[in-house]
Amino acid sequence: MRRLLKTSSGVLVCALACSPFVLAQSSKPSDAKKAPASKSSPNHGLSHNLSGVWMQYDDGTAPGFARMNGVDDRTRPPLTPWGQERFDSAKPLMGPRAVGGSEDSAALHCEPSGPPQLLILPNPWEIVQVPGRTFMFFEEYHIWRTIWTDGRPLPKDPDPSWLGYSVGHWEGDTFVVETVGFNDKVWADLSGNPRSEQMHLTERYRRLNHDTLEQQIIIDDPKSYTKTWVSPPKLHKFEPKWEIAEWFCASSENQTYDKDVRKPSGGGPVDPNK
């Protein structure tokens, strides 16, 4: 993340082009994760244990949307007029509407990301469970997130924020995370689909076996979408030897910021082969 290109287009470049192996340090195993399991082992004893570094990979189900389909455009319900307006004005990073060099999003300004966009990027992330809380750590922008699991309800009138306010509970073997209190400054995805302050986000996590975590993202945002947006589940792979590396988005130099972010049309489209 120290090179110029990466500063301005960290999301694009690294999400699409960089090898994830470059981003995640693989020096030593973090904790002794000695769970005796193979790929085919059942989740016995692990069903309520989501801890570890997870990674999503290209599964080929969404051509042109290399593996970033945790929020799946193909299952999106019709937009409301407000949602449509937002969507039309967005200069997306991906999809058929993306124009090389004209992309614009909060992430390109090094502004914080947040759920669900943060959840769909193919970068390493880690779950840590402690009493009363579940933490999620994302390599992307070095963001951490708290999910309260101490039985508290969602707040009635939360201040809008990037990450929202999250609570989680177990329904059988499924860890259900509900989040409210978002601001509307990030999109729900990289295609420009909006997120509003009315969004109620539900994430459903299920550890299918030692190596596989299923994640399903459900967006209920009546200001943006005419119906609840239920994306198909997405699988994440356990990476026991990985540790989350430091990846900050830093507008390190004003000149770089000006050239690559504020005047993106001067920079031309990103060539992933370079």
Partner: protein, 279 residues
């Protein structure tokens, strides 16, 4: 905190006052949400001073004004009064810095990476009087800072410091217990920020040591030791600083956001055009 953050950021003054302002002026009580207690810390056996809490550092901590360094309330974890002489190189770096604080600071002329919303890191992030939290899990100690929503990993699984770490904002940290003192050592810093708000340099050769000791249930002692022969002619040993346990607090979301280019241009890129104390 979020509310404060937004209001501040949408005003012109904001960028400049964020750090100084939030750190010095606003009540810390406004920064940390006090909604509900996160974890129960109610074991009476653990509430006695000196007892088995000694290896338990977890909780939300806060440092307060102690007045022993006039003009720098609460922000003396890295204490300039104890700074050793600078090397010639360190001196030149120090003199070129446009400090946020201290005798060198000129209102409207301050400039630091933090004002551009670039990440902070140790030891600077440790000395700001904002809530921070320690969470201990097997093999690791996690530190969470409300300031810029930063988290940091201290490996406590016996591993050694890396031989040739890539320079980074947070560095690479390992920790171990020496009796009742948790000793954190960090290397692998970049030189993109200062160790404090005076402009004292941090470089890729900085070796940072932090010593933590829980004196009683409510008090955490933190001592910061900076060793960087490129900058300082001797190790810089600051006196210990006390942090108070705030069991009813939870860290709020505080991101540094360059929300609008206009703000960025007016307030950050042309700081000389703004006199922070004028209106």
């Amino acid at each position: 905190m979020k509310e404060i953050g937004h209001k501040v950021f949408s005003s012109k003054l904001a960028r400049i006052v964020t750090l100084i302002g939030l750190s010095l002026a606003f009540s810390p009580l406004g920064l940390a949400q006090t909604t509900a207690q996160s974890d129960k810390r109610s074991d009476p056996a653990k509430t006695q001073d000196g007892a088995p809490l000694s290896h338990d550092l977890s909780g939300v901590w806060m440092q307060y004004r102690d007045g022993d360094v006039p003009g720098t309330p609460g922000m003396n974890g890295v204490n300039e009064h104890f700074r050793p002489p600078l090397t010639p190189w360190g001196q030149s770096q120090f003199e070129s810095a446009k400090a946020l604080q201290g005798a060198k600071a000129v209102a409207g002329k301050e400039d630091t990476s933090v004002l551009r919303c670039e990440p902070s890191g140790p030891p600077q992030v440790l000395i700001l009087p904002n809530p921070w939290e320690i969470v201990q899990i097997p093999g690791r100690v996690l530190m969470f800072f409300e300031e810029q929503h930063i988290w940091r990993t201290i490996w406590a699984d016996g591993r050694t410091l890396p031989k040739d770490p890539d320079p980074s904002y947070l560095g690479y940290s390992v920790g171990r217990w020496e009796g009742d003192t948790f000793v954190v050592e960090t290397i692998g810093f970049n030189d993109k920020e200062w160790v404090d708000l005076y402009g004292n340099p941090r470089t890729s050769t900085t070796h940072l040591t932090e010593r933590y000791r829980r004196l009683n249930k409510d008090t955490l002692e933190q001592q910061i030791i900076i060793d960087d022969p490129k900058v300082y002619t001797k190790p810089w040993v600051s006196p210990p600083k006390m942090h108070k346990l705030e069991p009813g607090w939870e860290l709020a979301e505080w991101f540094c956001v360059l929300d609008e280019n206009k703000d960025y241009d007016q307030v950050v890129r042309k700081p000389a055009g703004v006199a922070p104390n004028s209106k």
